[in-house]
C-alpha cells in the first residue's frame, strides 16, 4: 500500500490524464507503474517528491505530453453523453407515465445538459481530485448536486409556465418501453465506461418519480405495468451494480497479487 499523499498524487494524475482525453488503458498502465515505484520508494523512506520533483503539476504535464490523445475514445464518448442525457431526461416523466415531447423540451434539454456537463465536469476533473481524501469532497458533491437539481427544478417551472405545444404524448405502454430503453442506456454506458455511477445516479433520480407513482392519489392508468417495469428496472440496475462491484473487486485482487 502507498501513503495517503502518494494515493492523492496518483488520483490527481489519473483525473488530469482523463481530462486530457488520454486512452483509459494507458492511464491505468502508467498509474499502476507509478504506484509500484511509489510503493518501493516509500518502503525505503522516500516520499512523493522523489518522483515528482519540485512541481507535481509540471510532472503530470510531462507525463501527459508523452502520451497520445485518444480521439477515437473521445468521439465514442459524445454519442454516449447524448444518449445518457436523453435517458436522464426521459426516465422521470416516463416512470410517472407522463412522457411527452414539445419544442421546449429540446431547449430545456440543451440548456440543462450543457450546464450540467460543465458543472459536473469541472467538479469531477478539477475540484474533487484536490479534496479526494477529505470530508469536503462529500460536501462539495452534495452541494453541487443540490445546486444542479435546483437549477433543473427552476427550469422545469419556467418550462411549465411557457405552455409549449405538445408534439408527442406517450401512451402507458410506450412509457414502459421508454423506461426499459433508459435502463438499457444506463447499463450499456456503465459497461462501456466501466463505471457504475451511470447506474447509481438514475436510481437516485428515479426515487422521486417512483414514489409518486407508487403512492398516487388516483391510481395511474395501469398501475400493474408501471410497477412491473419499475421492479424490472430496479432488479436490472441492482444486478448490474452487483456485477460491477464484483468486477472491481476481481480487478483489484488481480492487481494486488
Amino acid at each position: 500500500m502507498v501513503s495517503k499523499q502518494a494515493e492523492q498524487f496518483l488520483t490527481e494524475l489519473r483525473f488530469y490524464l482523463i481530462s486530457k482525453g488520454k486512452n483509459d488503458q494507458e492511464i491505468n498502465e502508467i498509474t499502476e507503474e507509478l504506484e509500484v515505484h511509489l510503493m518501493e520508494a516509500e518502503a525505503e523512506g522516500k516520499d512523493v517528491s522523489h518522483i515528482t520533483g519540485k512541481s507535481p503539476k509540471q510532472y503530470m504535464k510531462s507525463i501527459g505530453e508523452s502520451m497520445q490523445t485518444d480521439y477515437r475514445q473521445m468521439a465514442g464518448m459524445v454519442p454516449m453523453f447524448i444518449l445518457l442525457l436523453a435517458a436522464y431526461f426521459s426516465l422521470g416523466p416516463a416512470i410517472e407515465g407522463k412522457f411527452s415531447i414539445s419544442e421546449g423540451t429540446i431547449w430545456l434539454a440543451l440548456i440543462t445538459g450543457a450546464a450540467g456537463i460543465l458543472i459536473y465536469g469541472l467538479l469531477l476533473l478539477k475540484v474533487l481530485p484536490k479534496f479526494f481524501h477529505s470530508k469536503w469532497s462529500y460536501v462539495l458533491l452534495v452541494g453541487t448536486s443540490m445546486a444542479v437539481t435546483g437549477l433543473f427544478v427552476a427550469l422545469m417551472l419556467w418550462y411549465k409556465t411557457q405552455g409549449f405545444e405538445l408534439i408527442y404524448v406517450a401512451s402507458p405502454a410506450e412509457n414502459n418501453w421508454i423506461i426499459v430503453l433508459c435502463a438499457a442506456i444506463f447499463i450499456g454506458s456503465a459497461i462501456y465506461s466501466k463505471t457504475w455511477f451511470t447506474i447509481v445516479i438514475p436510481l437516485f433520480l428515479s426515487l422521486g418519480p417512483i414514489a409518486s407513482t407508487v403512492i398516487p392519489e388516483e391510481v395511474n392508468n395501469d398501475p400493474f405495468y408501471v410497477t412491473v417495469t419499475v421492479l424490472v428496472f430496479a432488479a436490472a440496475a441492482a444486478l448490474a451494480i452487483a456485477i460491477f462491484l464484483l468486477q472491481r473487486k476481481k480487478k483489484k485482487s488481480n492487481t494486488r497479487v
Binding site: 499502476e32 507509478l34 504506484e35 509500484v36 522523489h50 492487481t255
Partner: protein, 109 residues
C-alpha cells in the same frame, strides 16, 4: 549553468537504453541503477515520460509480471530498433564528448 537537468536532456535517453540492454528491468530498479551510476540531480519520476515516449517509438517493449507485493511490475526490454538507436547514441556521444574534451583540454593548457 548550475542546472545539469538541461544538459542531461537527450543524454538520459541513451543511458536508459544502455541500462535496459543489460537485461529486462522495471521502472524502480532502473531509477535506482541510474542513481548508483551517479545521476542524482533529477527526480526519479523523470524516467517515466521518457520510457513512455521510447515505448511509443518502438525502442523498448514491455511485459507485465507479478511481483511479491502490490500491483504487477512493468518490465522493459530493448527492441531491435532500440539497439540501433543505442548504437547511434554511442557514436554521437563519443563525438560530442571527445570534442568537448578537446576544447576543455586546450583551454586548460
Amino acid at each position: 549553468m548550475a542546472d545539469t537537468t538541461q544538459m542531461l536532456k537527450g543524454i538520459l535517453d541513451g543511458c536508459l537504453l544502455a541500462i535496459i540492454k543489460e537485461g529486462e528491468i522495471y521502472g524502480y530498479e532502473l531509477a535506482a541503477k541510474l542513481e548508483s551510476y551517479g545521476f542524482h540531480s533529477f527526480s526519479e519520476g523523470t524516467i517515466y515520460p521518457l520510457l513512455l515516449r521510447m515505448q511509443k517509438e518502438g525502442l523498448v517493449s514491455t511485459t507485465l509480471r507479478k511481483s511479491t507485493a502490490g500491483p504487477k511490475r512493468k518490465y522493459y526490454s530493448l527492441t531491435e530498433k532500440g539497439e540501433q538507436e543505442l548504437g547511434q547514441f554511442i557514436t554521437r556521444w563519443e563525438q560530442v564528448s571527445s570534442s568537448v574534451n578537446n576544447v576543455l583540454d586546450k583551454r586548460g593548457k
